[in-house]
């Protein structure tokens, strides 16, 4: 884990090394200062020598300025290094995620990836900065101070060393216990916040069922159990401070007693005693700091683990090593004995992946579509329709069998070439914030306004775009919330058409359009772009009934294959769907 993380220090290595260097110099300076103060007292004030006071005062000032300069350099470099580290981590993760295949993305949830890139990286940035500065400062202060103590009077140093061991051990005990408790606190805290979120989102349900009091009771219970755990954890922690005081005071009393003896015995000066008092403080404070670093590293280790998980994930779909084929001959599509199952990550509440399950999605599919033909695919939720379509543009790789486009195995193509020629409109129609034109140009970056208009004509989108006050310059909000579902779908179709693909796949892409609009779109496909192979996936009979061939899918298998009329005669599932949709119900929704 640390190796992967450290690799991302990258260009900021210089600063990352300079920070501890400057920090140690700063510590060195500030450790000398109490020693110099003892000279001021001994050789200056006690000796009644004003010259020495000024001399050592001057030395101390020089040291202070040096320490200041080193301190500023350390601060600057640590800021540069840690923010750079975070920058590199974000960049590395983002570019790495871009290489992910669909199955990689499925393994991590979207929200999981977002947390990893934001909160977890921020945590790591903070600990990195803390580690660069404090982890050097604390041990160095400790070592320097001990060294100076030994130097002044080794016998007295035994006092420190005993105190240090006692304090260090007890701090370690208390803190390792509290760290554990804190992680429980975090869990309870998250649970509490989840319940608030649930209430905010479902406030209409709460109010409709008059469950305000019930929810209050539930929340109170959760809040109280959090309170108890928090108090328990903090009470344990509250021991730290008095314990530290106990040790410090013990040291002071011991130092005074033995110090007095040594001074009287002539082994020690009063100035040196004062310095010892100062060192005892800095030794014990740095011990305190060390334990804090320990806490901080423990706490950010979880973040580190989650970031590394993303960075270490290997993209499982890549172009062939030699670059692959750069040309797709025609729009024919052929499946021969294709089987596939999803490997799904099982994650716990924090989004950590804990295992995986497989669920078969396609079984022994064999079908062939000629270039320019239209293939309809119909079936219930989870029957494998979308999976079937995903195999064509190699969004997933088959587990057995072969998928061919233009007569060649999809795995032989350069992935980018294949996906440009096989244009797929996904079930979740997503537009990005930006103008309509910008969104359309995802399909072809240099498309002219004319080309875009033409694509929109085909997708029956021109009419509503022209009605918008700003036309093609209309700004689309994030997730396309300011256009209706049907409009979003038509824009997505236009965007895909702009690629001028050889194969076009519509995955339930007209479900929110009303029947007449849908009919117009399908009609335009047949007459205006006859060369494109069309694969239309739907739950609605009327979307597929005019296709050259229709596949009825059920449980990942082909249950029926034929034209509308043939299936209506022979296929029970198709008949069932037809009866439900056309004879009994239909959709009574005015979707404009």
């Amino acid at each position: 884990m640390f190796k992967t993380l450290l690799r991302n220090v990258g260009d900021f290595k210089k600063s990352s090394i300079l920070t501890p260097v400057f920090t140690s110099l700063e510590v060195l300076m500030s450790t000398f200062i109490p020693y110099v103060t003892s000279w001021i007292i001994d050789r200056g004030i006690n000796a009644g020598d004003m010259g020495n006071v000024c001399l050592y005062g001057g030395v101390m000032l020089v040291l202070a300025f040096l320490s200041l300069w080193f301190g500023i350099q350390a601060g600057r470099n640590s800021a540069y290094a840690s923010t750079g580290f975070a920058y590199n981590l974000r960049s590395a993760m983002y570019s790495h995620i871009q290489t992910f295949s669909f199955s990689n993305i499925d393994r991590f949830t979207t929200s999981g990836l977002i947390t990893r890139m934001t909160t977890d990286v921020s945590n790591l940035q903070n600990s990195f900065q803390q580690i660069l500065r404090a982890s050097v400062r604390a041990p160095l202060t400790l070592i320097f101070s001990i060294f100076m103590c030994v130097f002044i009077n080794w016998k007295m140093s035994l006092i420190f060393i005993t105190a240090m061991v006692v304090l260090g051990l007890s701090l370690y005990l208390v803190i390792s216990k509290t760290v554990k408790l804190f992680s429980q606190v975090f869990e309870k805290y998250d649970a509490l916040n989840n319940s608030v979120q649930e209430n905010v989102q479902a406030i209409r349900v709460v109010k409709a069922f008059v469950r305000e009091d019930y929810e209050n009771t539930k929340f109170r219970k959760a809040a109280e159990s959090l309170y108890k755990l928090f108090v328990k954890t903090e009470s344990l922690q509250a021991i730290n401070h008095p314990m530290m005081n106990l040790v410090v005071y013990g040291c002071i009393i011991a130092l005074s007693w033995f110090g007095a003896h040594y001074i009287v015995g002539g082994e020690l000066t009063t100035g040196q005693l004062t310095s010892l008092f100062t060192y005892v403080m800095s030794i014990l404070t740095s011990l305190m700091m060390l334990t804090m670093i320990f806490v901080s590293i423990t706490m950010s280790a979880a973040s580190g683990k989650r970031v590394v998980e993303v960075l270490d994930e290997r993209a499982d779909i890549t172009s062939p090593a030699d670059g692959g084929l750069k040309e797709v001959a025609d729009g024919s599509v052929e499946f021969s004995d294709v089987s596939f199952s999803y490997r799904q990550g099982v994650s716990d509440e924090d989004g950590n992946i804990t295992g995986s399950v497989t669920r078969p999605a396609l079984q022994h599919i064999t079908v062939k579509v000629e270039s320019g033909e239209t293939l309809g695919v119909i079936g219930g939720t989870g029957c494998g329709k979308s999976t079937f379509a995903s195999m064509v543009s190699r969004l997933y790789d088959v587990h057995s069998g072969v998928v061919k486009v233009g007569g060649r195995d999809v795995r032989d193509y350069d992935v980018e070439v294949l996906r440009n020629e096989v244009s797929m409109i996904l079930q979740n129609n997503i537009l990005f914030s930006g103008t309509i034109l910008e969104n359309l140009r995802w399909g072809k970056p240099d498309a002219t306004l004319e080309e875009c208009r033409h694509a929109c004509d085909l997708a029956q989108a021109s009419e509503f775009i022209d009605q918008m006050p700003e036309g093609y310059e209309t700004h689309i909000e994030q997730n396309g919330t300011n256009v209706s579902g049907g409009q979003r779908q038509r824009l997505c179709i236009a965007r895909a058409l702009l690629k001028k693909p050889k194969v076009l796949i519509l995955d339930d892409s007209t479900s929110a359009c009303d029947t007449s609009t849908e009919a117009k779109i399908l009609d335009a496909f047949t007459h205006q772009v006859p060369d494109i192979t069309k694969i239309i996936i739907s739950q609605r009979i009327q979307s597929v009934q005019h296709a050259d061939h229709i596949i009825v899918m059920d449980n990942g298998e082909i249950n029926g294959f034929g034209t509308h009329d043939e299936l209506l005669r022979s296929n029970p599932i198709y008949q069932d769907i037809y009866r439900l949709q056309i004879e009994n119900g239909g959709d009574f929704d005015q979707k404009k």
């Binding site: 500030s30 200062i33 007292i41 004030i45 006071v53 101390m60 000032l61 040291l63 202070a64 300025f65 320490s67 301190g71 601060g75 800021a79 975070a86 960049s91 983002y94 871009q98 669909f102 993305i105 990836l113 909160t119 606190v185 916040n193 989840n194 608030v196 649930e198 905010v200 989102q201 479902a202 209409r204 349900v205 069922f209 008059v210 929810e215 309170y227 928090f230 903090e234 021991i239 008095p242 005081n245 007095a260 003896h261 009287v264 009063t270 005693l273 219930g380 543009s393 969004l395 992935v415 980018e416 996906r419 996904l426 914030s433 209706s484 439900l580 119900g585 239909g586 959709d587 005015q590």
Partner: protein
């Protein structure tokens, strides 16, 4: 110490640590926060205060002891060559006792503050949540859910920090500063003046740096917000990026945002990191200046310049020099803490704003819903147990009551409504229904179908006209009773964390397992529930994410069914669930509508056709109303809609 670990994981909050300014309103907030804390912990706080004073004094004693040690014991011993350590031992023993008291007080202080801090937060959370539950739906429409959430996470958290650590720290620092300052004045006035002037310089520098850093921190927060938004949007659309081979373009855009964030974060941290070395070394400078000046005074004691300073002994000077750190350190702490306190106050402000938001009002309500029983005479009588019959208890002007059977008859007359002023969405709605009738609302998006249903259960209050429920104005009915009498299935299904059984029971808290299962059977949900890994005990994660859309809807219907409400409001799903599940959902809905007064926002022909009244809406008005046959005969909008959806 580790108590300051930042629990709030979101950005913001604790980051902006420097350079905020106090305003008049912040003082108001300070008083309110203090009021909140003090009200319940008067005694604890008094003890804490006493403890802080004692702790400060003992800390000071331990520091000043150096002087006593050198001047009163060591120096005389060295001078006289005495080896009698008894007086020293006695002094140390005395010191030990004082320090022991200090330790006890320090623990007591820490321990009590935990109760005060956490207890206050517990109370705050409870109050906040209870208040939120009372807010009208309108409030949730007008505020982004993320913003409401951040009050609980970020804002309450900064308050936790403030109450738990900043305030006690500022407090004890102030006391230490005062006590130390007093001691310094006693030891030497001129030296104190010198320290005072230099400390002011230190405070000034900290503030200046703080202001600069705050600017950078703000721009860091903005850039962080931008990049978070970008990541969220792009990763949500990651699969689209893949199908359009847009990877390189998005990486390029990301790099720009990432660089902007890096550079502002660098600047913010750079300035913030400088504060500590500057303060530390300024305090070194003060030390040297004091040593030199003190040296001059001590060595020229009794001289012409400062004759009254003849008492400045070497021991005094040494003690004074030690006190300097004691003085400058808390000063630098306070000047840094002040900023985080001010930022916490901004959070406190948002907490109080939520707590001050106006709750749902129920002023005119006088009518209650009660269990009733039909007596032998055919009259209704109030009953003290569940009878399955409900009645409205309507007060008379003479103080007596009469009972009206609850039947679910809803009448609108001349109803006008707007969500926000000046944008009316319903115009002059007139609608008469009979008990037990099924009323279908049809029309396009934005026609006002959902709005009508939201008015019946008073999610919103109307601006004009009246809505009668069993001939009683709904404003006269207690809101919770009104809602209790109406079952509701919303279009967007929300389930709660808990098992399937818990979620069904939500509709009737005292329902037995058998009742819940019966409800599930009634609405067609039983079979799929049995197919789940743990049946009715299957835990549902976040909003039922482990179920399909249709399955979640079935549970929501069962939840409405278990309460056996006499009247129903249903919103049919439009989302694409597959035909077979949809059929189950449909049948579920049909079962529960049977024999009840129902308002249904209909999307399916069969539902519409079977309704007693079909209400066709357009742009907030009822344009046609009647039965299927009547409306077809009209050859109007309904006719158009109906035929438009027949398969060509």
């Amino acid at each position: 110490m580790a108590r300051q670990i930042n629990i709030g994981r979101g950005p913001g909050g604790a980051h902006n640590r420097f350079g905020a300014k106090m305003t008049k309103d912040s003082w108001k907030t300070v008083r309110r926060v203090f009021g909140y804390v003090v009200r319940h912990y008067k005694f604890s706080l008094l003890v804490v205060l006493a403890c802080i004073v004692v702790t400060s004094v003992t800390t000071l004693t331990s520091t000043l002891f150096t002087r006593t040690l050198i001047d009163d014991y060591i120096t005389p011993m060295v001078e006289t060559g005495s080896t009698d350590y008894a007086p020293l031992a006695q002094a140390l023993l005395k010191l030990g006792c004082i320090l022991a008291v200090g330790i006890v007080c320090s623990y007591l202080n820490n321990r009590l503050m935990i109760n005060v801090g956490q207890g206050t937060l517990l109370r705050l959370r409870k109050d906040l949540f209870a208040h939120m539950e009372q807010l009208p739906i309108k409030y949730f429409d007008q505020h982004a859910h993320g913003d409401i959430m951040s009050v609980y996470t970020n804002d309450v958290d900064t308050l936790r920090q403030m109450i738990g650590s900043s305030i006690p720290m500022v407090f004890s620092s102030l006391i230490t500063i005062t006590v130390t300052f007093a001691s310094m004045v006693v030891l030497s006035v001129p030296l104190t003046l010198l320290v005072l002037v230099m400390t002011l310089v230190m405070v000034f520098v900290t503030r200046k740096l703080g202001e600069r850093s705050a600017l950078h921190f703000r721009s860091q927060q903005q850039n962080l917000g931008k990049i978070n938004g970008y990541i969220e949007e792009m990763l949500t659309g990651q699969k689209v990026i893949k199908t359009f081979c847009h990877e390189r373009a998005t990486i390029k855009q990301f790099e720009e945002l990432n660089e902007a964030l890096r550079s502002s974060a660098y600047n913010a941290n750079r300035v913030a990191n400088v504060v500590m070395p500057i303060n530390g070394n300024l305090s070194n400078l003060i030390y040297v200046l004091a040593a030199v000046l003190g040296g001059v005074i001590a060595l020229h004691a009794g001289g012409n310049l400062i004759s009254f300073e003849s008492t400045l002994t070497v021991g005094t000077l040494v003690a004074f020099l030690t006190l300097i750190k004691n003085f400058t350190q808390p000063v630098s702490h306070v000047s840094q803490q002040i900023n985080s306190v001010i930022n916490a106050l901004a959070g406190a402000d948002r907490v109080f704003t939520l707590m001050d938001a106006e709750v749902e009002k129920d002023d005119e309500a006088t009518v209650r819903l009660v269990d009733a029983e039909e007596g032998a005479d055919g009259e209704l009588h109030e009953s003290d147990h569940r009878t399955g019959v409900w009645a409205w208890k309507v007060p008379e002007s003479d103080g007596s009551f009469h009972l009206v059977r609850q039947r679910g008859e809803v009448d609108f007359s001349g109803v006008d409504f707007s969500y926000v002023a000046e944008k009316q969405v319903l115009f002059d709605i007139d609608l008469d229904t009979e008990a037990g009738q099924k009323v279908a609302l049809v029309g396009g998006t934005g026609a006002g179908k959902t709005t009508i249903t939201n008015l019946i259960n008073r999610f919103y209050d109307i601006q004009g006209g009246t809505i009668l429920y069993d001939h009683i104005d709904i404003r006269k009915i207690h809101r919770e009773d009104l809602r209790r009498s109406l079952g509701m299935v919303l279009q967007e299904t929300h389930l709660f964390t808990g098992t399937v059984m818990d979620n069904i029971r939500y509709g009737k808290l005292d329902a037995t397992d058998e009742e819940c299962i019966a409800a599930a059977k009634l609405v067609n949900a039983h079979n799929f529930i049995l197919g789940l890994a743990q049946g009715y005990d299957t835990p549902l994660t976040a909003d039922g994410g482990n179920l399909s859309q249709g399955e979640r809807q079935l549970i929501a219907i069962a939840r409405a069914a278990v309460g056996n409400p006499p009247a129903l409001i249903l919103d049919e799903a439009t989302s694409s669930i597959d035909t077979r599940t949809e059929k189950m959902v449909q049948e579920g809905m049909d079962h529960i509508m049977n024999g009840r007064s129902t308002f249904v926002i209909a999307h399916r022909l069969s539902t519409v056709r079977n309704s007693h009244i079909i209400v066709v809406m357009d742009h907030g008005r009822i344009i046609e109303q009647g039965t299927h046959e009547e409306l077809l005969a009209l050859q109007g909008k309904y006719y158009e809609l109906y035929n438009g959806h027949q398969i060509a």
